[in-house]
C-alpha cells in the first residue's frame, strides 16, 4: 500500500502572499499613525471607514494630505525597487545586481539633475509629471544599455565585469551630479535630495502618478518574468522554447527603466532595497522568477514602509534620510553576501 507523500516542491505561495498582504496593510496603518505628531489608530480606521466627519479638521488633513500619500509612496517605491532588483538579478544572472549597485539609479538621478538645472522641471501633466521624470528615464535607459554593453562578452554576461562596470559607471554618474551641483548652487538643495532619498515631499498628485506607473508596469514584468528564467538556459536553448532574447530584454529594459526613473525622480536614490529584498524572497523558498517577483514587490513595500516609519519617528520632528536607513540595513547584508561568495570560491568546501 502506498501512502500519499505531501509534495515537497509546492512552495505554498498563496499563503506567503496572503501573509505579505496582511502585513503590508498593518505596517501601512501603523505608519499612518506615526510621524512628528501621533495620530491614534482608531482615528486612522475612522478615516478609512468613511467616518472622517467625527475627526478634527487637522487630523483629517494630516492623515489625508500627508500620511497617506507618504505611506503609499513608500510602499510603491519599495515594491518597485525590489521588483527591479529581482528582475535585474535574473537578467544579469548575478545575485549582487541591483539598480543602485549597477549605477542605474545614479544614471536616473543624473538625468533628473540635468533636467532640473536646464529648467525643464516645469509641470507638464497631471499636476505632477515634470521634466525631471523624462530626464530620469533617459538617464536610466542610457546607463542600463551602457552596463549591458560593457558586461556582455561573446553573447553572455560576465559576472565580475558586470559588477565592476556598474560600480565604475555609478561613480562616474555620482561625480557628474556633484559637478552639476557645484555649478548650479541655486538648485543644489533640490539635486542633493536625489543623492539621499526622501519621502517627505510626497503629495497626493505625485503619489497618484507613481501608482499609475506601477499599476501599468508591474503586469508587464509579471508577464515577462518566466521568460527571464528561460533566458538563463542561454540564447539558443531559450529560442527552442519560443523565447527571443532580444525582444525579452528590450521589454524588460523598458519596463524596469520606467519604474526606476519614476521612483528616483519621485524620492531619490534609495540604495540596497533592490539588492536585499529578492534574497529575502528567495529565503522563503520562492525561486521561480514570477512568484519571486510578486513576493519581492510585497516584501519591498513592507520593508520600505517600516524604514520610512523609522525615518520620520526616531529623530522627530527632524527626519533621517531614507537612503541612509535602507543602506544601514542593506550594506552589511551586501558584505555578508560578498564574504559568503568568497568562502564558496575557496579551495576547500567548508561544509558538505
Amino acid at each position: 500500500m502506498r501512502t500519499q507523500v505531501p509534495d515537497k516542491s509546492s512552495d505554498r505561495f498563496v499563503i506567503k502572499f496572503t501573509i505579505a498582504v496582511i502585513m503590508l496593510l498593518c505596517v501601512m496603518a501603523v505608519s499612518c499613525c506615526l510621524g512628528s505628531s501621533t495620530t491614534s489608530l482608531s482615528d486612522v480606521i475612522k478615516y478609512f471607514t468613511g467616518r472622517s466627519s467625527e475627526l478634527a479638521n487637522t487630523t483629517v488633513t494630516i492623515i489625508g494630505r500627508i500620511r497617506i500619500p507618504r505611506t503609499v509612496t513608500a510602499a510603491l517605491v519599495g515594491g518597485a525597487l525590489a521588483s527591479v532588483g529581482c528582475i535585474m538579478q535574473g537578467v544579469f544572472r548575478n545575485p549582487m545586481a541591483d539598480p543602485s549597485v549597477l549605477g542605474i539609479s545614479s544614471g536616473a538621478a543624473l538625468g533628473a539633475a540635468v533636467a532640473i538645472v536646464l529648467g525643464l522641471n516645469g509641470v507638464i501633466l497631471f499636476g505632477a509629471f515634470t521634466g525631471a521624470y523624462i530626464g530620469a528615464m533617459i538617464g536610466a535607459v542610457v546607463t542600463w544599455i551602457l552596463v549591458f554593453t560593457i558586461a556582455t562578452r561573446n553573447g553572455h554576461y560576465d559576472t565580475s565585469s558586470t559588477l565592476l562596470a556598474g560600480i565604475a559607471i555609478s561613480s562616474i554618474m555620482s561625480a557628474l551630479i556633484t559637478v552639476i551641483m557645484t555649478l548650479h548652487l541655486d538648485d543644489m538643495e533640490r539635486v542633493y535630495m536625489w543623492m539621499l532619498g526622501t519621502f517627505s515631499a510626497s503629495t497626493a498628485d505625485k503619489t497618484k502618478l507613481l501608482a499609475v506607473v506601477v499599476v501599468l508596469m508591474m503586469p508587464v514584468l509579471i508577464f515577462i518574468a518566466p521568460r527571464i528564467d528561460i533566458l538563463k538556459l542561454g540564447k539558443e536553448a531559450a529560442l527552442t522554447l519560443g523565447v527571443n532574447q532580444k525582444s525579452t530584454l528590450a521589454v524588460t529594459l523598458g519596463a524596469c527603466s520606467c519604474l526606476l526613473a519614476f521612483c528616483v525622480a519621485n524620492s531619490g536614490i534609495i540604495g540596497f532595497v533592490g539588492l536585499i529584498i529578492p534574497h529575502i524572497a528567495a529565503f522563503f523558498k520562492v525561486t521561480k522568477m514570477r512568484k519571486r517577483l510578486i513576493l519581492s514587490f510585497m516584501t519591498g513595500a513592507i520593508f520600505m514602509v517600516i524604514c520610512d516609519t523609522v525615518c520620520k519617528t526616531v529623530v522627530a520632528p527632524g527626519e533621517l534620510a531614507i537612503g541612509a536607513v535602507t543602506s544601514l540595513i542593506g550594506a552589511p547584508y551586501f558584505l555578508f553576501l560578498l564574504m559568503g561568495s568568497r568562502l564558496r570560491s575557496g579551495k576547500e568546501k567548508i561544509s558538505s
Binding site: S9, R93, K232, T240, G242, K288
Partner: protein, 232 residues
C-alpha cells in the same frame, strides 16, 4: 523531418568559423559531430538551432550555462515544460509527470530541491539533459553532453539517447570529444576540420580520425568485438 544546412558560412570579424558547410542530418539517428577544438562544431549546431528553433520541435543542451540561475534543480527541469503561448505557467498533471520522469531518468530525484548553482559540473549536465528530455521535442541537439560526466553517467546518458531513438523515434545531434564513446553510440559521423565538413561516414575508422585530427590513430578490437581507438 531531416535538418538541412546548405552552404552555411559564419565568420566572427575576419575569422571564418564555418565555410560553406552543407549537410543533411537524418531523423531517427544519432549523429556524432567530431573534430578538433575550434573547428566550428558548436557554431554549426548553434546555427542549426537558430534555423530550426521556430518550428518548436528541437531542444538544445549547451555545454555550460553561465552565471547564477537562482533556481533549484526541479525549477530548471520544469523550464522544459514552458509554453510561450500561455500566460499562467502553472503545471498540469501531465507536466508534473514529465518533470518527475525526466528527474528519475537522470537520477536527480534526491537533488530536486538543491540549488542548481551548487551542483557539480556533471550534475549540472544531467540536470540540463533532464530539462531537454522534459521538453519532449523530436530533435535533441547536445553540445558535449558528457564532458563533465564520469564513465558510468556518460554511458547512461548515451544509453538513454539510444532508448529514445529506438522507442520514440527521436533524433540526436551530439558534439562529442570522446571518440570511443562516439564510435560506440553513433549511427552517423560528421568529421569537421577548420570550419568545413571533411567527411561523413556510417562507421568511424582510424584513418578518418587520423585525417581529421592530424595525428595517427590506431584501432584495436576488444575480445567482445568492439573497436577501440587510441593515438600515440
Amino acid at each position: 523531418m531531416n535538418l538541412e544546412v546548405n552552404n552555411i558560412s559564419v565568420s566572427f570579424g575576419d575569422h571564418a568559423v564555418l565555410s560553406d558547410v552543407t549537410h543533411t542530418f537524418k531523423e531517427g539517428k544519432i549523429t556524432m559531430i567530431i573534430g578538433p577544438n575550434g573547428c566550428g562544431k558548436t557554431t554549426l549546431i548553434r546555427t542549426l538551432v537558430s534555423m530550426y528553433a521556430k518550428d518548436g520541435d528541437l531542444s538544445y543542451i549547451p555545454q555550460d550555462i553561465y552565471g547564477d540561475t537562482g533556481l533549484n534543480v526541479r525549477d530548471i527541469v520544469s523550464l522544459g515544460r514552458y509554453d510561450s503561448s500561455k500566460f499562467f505557467q502553472g503545471e498540469s498533471e501531465e507536466d508534473k509527470k514529465y518533470i518527475d520522469d525526466a528527474l528519475s531518468l537522470m537520477e536527480l530525484q534526491d537533488k530536486k530541491d538543491q540549488m542548481f548553482d551548487t551542483l557539480s559540473g556533471g550534475e549540472k549536465q544531467r540536470c540540463m539533459a533532464a530539462r531537454a528530455v522534459c521538453q519532449d521535442a523530436s530533435w535533441f541537439i547536445m553540445d558535449e553532453p558528457a564532458s563533465n560526466l564520469d564513465p558510468v553517467h556518460s554511458k547512461h546518458i548515451l544509453n538513454t539517447a539510444r532508448e529514445l531513438v529506438r522507442k520514440e523515434g527521436k533524433s540526436f545531434i551530439i558534439v562529442m570529444h570522446d571518440v570511443n564513446l562516439a564510435a560506440a553510440y553513433g549511427d552517423e559521423f560528421v568529421l569537421m576540420k577548420q570550419g568545413r565538413v571533411m567527411n561523413t561516414a556510417d562507421e568511424l575508422t582510424s584513418s578518418l580520425l587520423s585525417e581529421v585530427f592530424d595525428t595517427s590513430f590506431e584501432c584495436v578490437r576488444t575480445p567482445s568485438g568492439k573497436n577501440v581507438f587510441y593515438s600515440d
